[in-house]
Every structure is written in C-alpha cells, then in structure tokens.
C-alpha cells in the first residue's frame, strides 16, 4: 500500500511546485473542505461547523457534474440548551454544474444544482429525507494540480421522507416543514 501512496503523495507535492498553466482544462477534481454551516433562523438550533468531500468531473465544455457528501453539526440552544445532543445532518447529493469562466483559467467560477438524500440525527433519532441544494463556488488553481475552493450551498431538505420517519420538532412533536441550511466551505482541491 505504502509503495503506491507515498510516491503518489510525492508526485502531488512535487507537481504543486509547478505554476498552473492556463489553457489546460481540468477534467476531474477532488475536494476536502471544512467550514461554517447553519440552519437559518431557528431559535433552538445554533450555528455550527461542518465539512465534506466532493468529486467533480467535466462532462463537456463548461458543463460538469458534482457528487458531494456533506456533514454538519449544530448544538441545541434556547429551550433545548439543556439537551446535550447535537443536531447533526448531512447529505449525499449529485447534480450538474456550469462553469462561467473559460475552462482552463486559473480562477474558475461555477454554479450547481444538486439533489439527493439528506440525513438528520438529533434527540428524536435518525431521519432520511429528500432535499436539493443550490450552490456556487470559486476555485483558484494556484498550482498544478492543487487549488483552493470556497463554495456556498443553500440546502432545502425534509421535502419528503425517505424512510417513513419525518423530522419532528422536539419541542412540540409536530412534523417539521421544509428545513434549510447554508454552508460556506473552504476546500483543498486536487485536479487532473
């Protein structure tokens, strides 16, 4: 295993020293990120931290596809601050991306629309629901193949239960309506 992994890491680090060359559109990109997440405007759920991994591939021209796995963790507050069980969630989403900048430029600007299953684990248990997110990202390829990406995604989930258990409000036990989350994630990306 190490005979493969260490040379691969060395190759990445060595190539990182080379400047990015314009005009070579990348066809594949992997990212690992960490950042801010928040359920918006909820009096009992605090802002939190999260992150995720993603894979992006160019399909044709400026059109690409992105697969993302996100996790988010938020503490409860207000009436529920005594319950030390965090509100955690995440998603596995897939969808198309559109690149606004010229393929191959060192600074890329993309927008995405993705959908997939969302999970939520909190004091009332684990629920899987369907959701969508709308995102935009700036990718700075500061060397080849490494880059930095900052992306923000606005998620809408709990649109429909996937496992028969809707998300319920822990204060009233009533079913929750559509929920949202905003992510601002800084990622290290490796492109090929």
């Amino acid at each position: 295993m190490s005979r493969v992994v260490f040379p691969a890491i060395g190759l990445i680090l060595a190539s990182a020293a080379r400047p990015a060359s314009a005009g070579e559109p990348e066809t594949f990109r992997l990212g690992l990120g960490f950042g801010y997440v928040s359920p918006l405007a909820d009096p009992a759920v605090a802002e939190g931290l999260g992150g995720g991994v993603e894979a992006w591939a160019r399909v044709v021209g400026r059109l690409g596809a992105r697969l993302s796995i996100d996790i988010a963790r938020n503490a409860l507050e207000g009436d529920l601050s005594g319950v030390p069980w965090p509100y955690t969630g995440g998603d596995v989403t897939f969808g198309p991306t559109l690149e606004f900048t010229s393929p191959g430029s060192s600074l890329a600007w993309l927008a995405s629309v993705e959908t997939g299953p969302y999970w939520t684990a909190y004091v009332l248990g684990l629920s899987w629901t369907w959701g969508v997110n709308f995102g935009t990202a700036l990718v700075w390829r500061f060397s080849r193949p490494l880059g930095l990406q900052i992306r923000t995604n606005y998620h809408l989930y709990n649109l429909a239960p996937l496992d028969g258990d809707a998300i319920r409000c822990p204060r009233t036990m009533l079913p929750a309506g559509t929920l949202d989350r905003l992510d601002v994630i800084l990622s290290l990306v490796v492109a090929a």
Binding site: P39, L80, V113, L126, L159, A160, M173
Partner: protein
C-alpha cells in the same frame, strides 16, 4: 443553470404543498388557553399527578438522599405539558422540562382500536383505561425520569446512561412512589400491564434486554404504534415489583429507592 429555474419552482411547490415553509425545526407549543377542553382536562390530570409525585419527591429525597430535590418547572407550569399533537402515540420526557403525552381523542381511530383490542373493551372503557394508565401511571413514570434528570443532571444522563436503564429507573421510582403514596395507582397499573405483557410476551419477551432495546429503539417507539415500548414499560414495572423488596420481603420505600439514584 437551465435546471435551476424549474427546480426552484418545484421546491416552492413542494414547500407550499407540504407542512409549511417557515424553515425552522422548532415550533412554539400552544398555550393551555389554546387547547381544546379534552386537552386541558388531560393537562390538568397529568399536572395533578406530577405535583403529587413532586410533593413525595421533595419529602422523601431529604431522608433518602439527604438533600431536597424537586421536579422543577414541569410540576408548576401547565404550559410545559404538551398534548396537542395528533395521530402520534407518544409519552416522552427528553430532559427539557417538558412532558409530552398523547390524549385519547388525538389518537387515530386505528390506534384507539388497537388499544381497546388488547383488553377486549368497548370504546368508553378503553378510553377510561387509557387515561388512567397514561395520564396517571405513565405520568408518574415520566416524573420518575424527570427526578433522575434533576438528581443526576441532564448532561450526565445523556452522556452516561442508556435509555433502557433510564426507563427502568423511571418505573422503579413510579412503583415505589405508588406503593408508599398511592397504592391504588399501583393496583390499576398492574391490571393494565398484566394483559399487555401476556399479549406481547411471545413477540418481545426474549428481547427484553438493553442491547435489543437500543438496536430496535426506533421501531419499538414508533409513534404510529408504540406497542413495543409499552410492553417494555410493563416489563420494567414487573421487574421493579420483584426488585422492590428486600431479602426479607419488606418493600423498599420511595426514599430508599431514591437513595440509589445519585451518581
């Protein structure tokens, strides 16, 4: 971006057709004044039971623990008793000083029919049994859990106790409280739990373990039909009655049962 417009429209349509668009997880509970007459009656009965348990707790914790404990605001504020949800069969205390309890009239018709079928009773008798069991016995059980939260702290319970053992402690405290302070309550609970244990022994009897409970918690406590949770509650009650006497057959007092709760 051509997909964004139709998808956004789809989301808005789903949002409007669904349960709401307020985009918040938590909602405000209706106040006591906003409840229906039967819901207010249920709140009054549950609060009376919590207050009776609280009086016993304040008295007996002094001798059992050496310090006075109380149930806190849940035994003082009727707005902290949540009964307004419909079609869900729930009795819960999450540690946030709120008791959640389903009212008979808010259960669905299949849920009411299922409860009545366990005892072969008509609707009126089944309703009276339900209210006696849940609004008195299960309320005392949730008061017992509240006592554990107050004595051990919510943070400690979530970090160190399993929900199986929390339920067990709730039943032990409810049983010893009733034995000392309201023997009639214990007799009525026995009369309801006996048929429930008999009915579901073949299905869950072998699974009455902490491991099985944790592995199947979501199914056992399914608010559409929590018969598994009710069976486990009645098994905890039977275990509490067996355990609730010393080797000479003398029943433990409520104060003695409280004495083992501090961590």
């Amino acid at each position: 971006m051509t997909l964004a417009g139709p998808l956004a429209a789809l989301v808005v349509a789903a949002c409007l057709a669904g349960a709401g668009c307020d985009l918040t997880l938590t909602q405000d509970r209706p106040s006591y004044e906003d409840l229906s007459a039967v819901e207010r009656a249920a709140v009054d009965r549950i609060l009376a039971r919590l207050q009776a348990f609280n009086a016993a707790l304040r008295l007996d914790s002094r001798t059992g623990i050496g310090r006075e404990y109380s149930l806190g605001p849940v035994a003082e504020d009727r707005d902290r008793i949540n009964v307004s949800f419909r079609g869900l069969w729930i009795a819960a205390n999450l540690g946030d000083d709120v008791i959640h309890m389903s009212v008979w009239e808010n259960l669905s018709a299949p849920q009411r029919a299922e409860w009545a079928s366990w005892f072969g009773e008509a609707e009126a008798a089944a309703k009276a049994r339900y209210e006696g069991f849940f609004h008195d016995w299960v309320a005392a059980h949730l008061a017992g859990i509240q006592a554990v939260f107050r004595i051990q702290t919510v943070e400690y319970v979530y970090g160190n106790r399993s929900v199986f053992k929390l339920e067990r402690d709730g039943q032990r405290l409810a049983a010893s409280y009733a034995r000392v302070h309201d023997p009639g309550l214990l007799s009525r609970a026995r009369a309801t739990c006996g048929p429930i244990r008999d009915r579901f022994a073949a299905r869950w009897g072998a699974g009455f373990t902490q491991e099985y409970y944790l592995a199947n918690f979501r199914a056992l406590t399914d608010p559409a039909m929590p018969s598994g949770w009710i069976y486990f509650l009645c098994r905890h009650m039977a275990e509490a009655e067996v355990r609730g006497v010393d080797i000479e057959g003398r029943p433990y007092t409520f104060a003695e049962e409280l004495s083992v709760i501090p961590r």
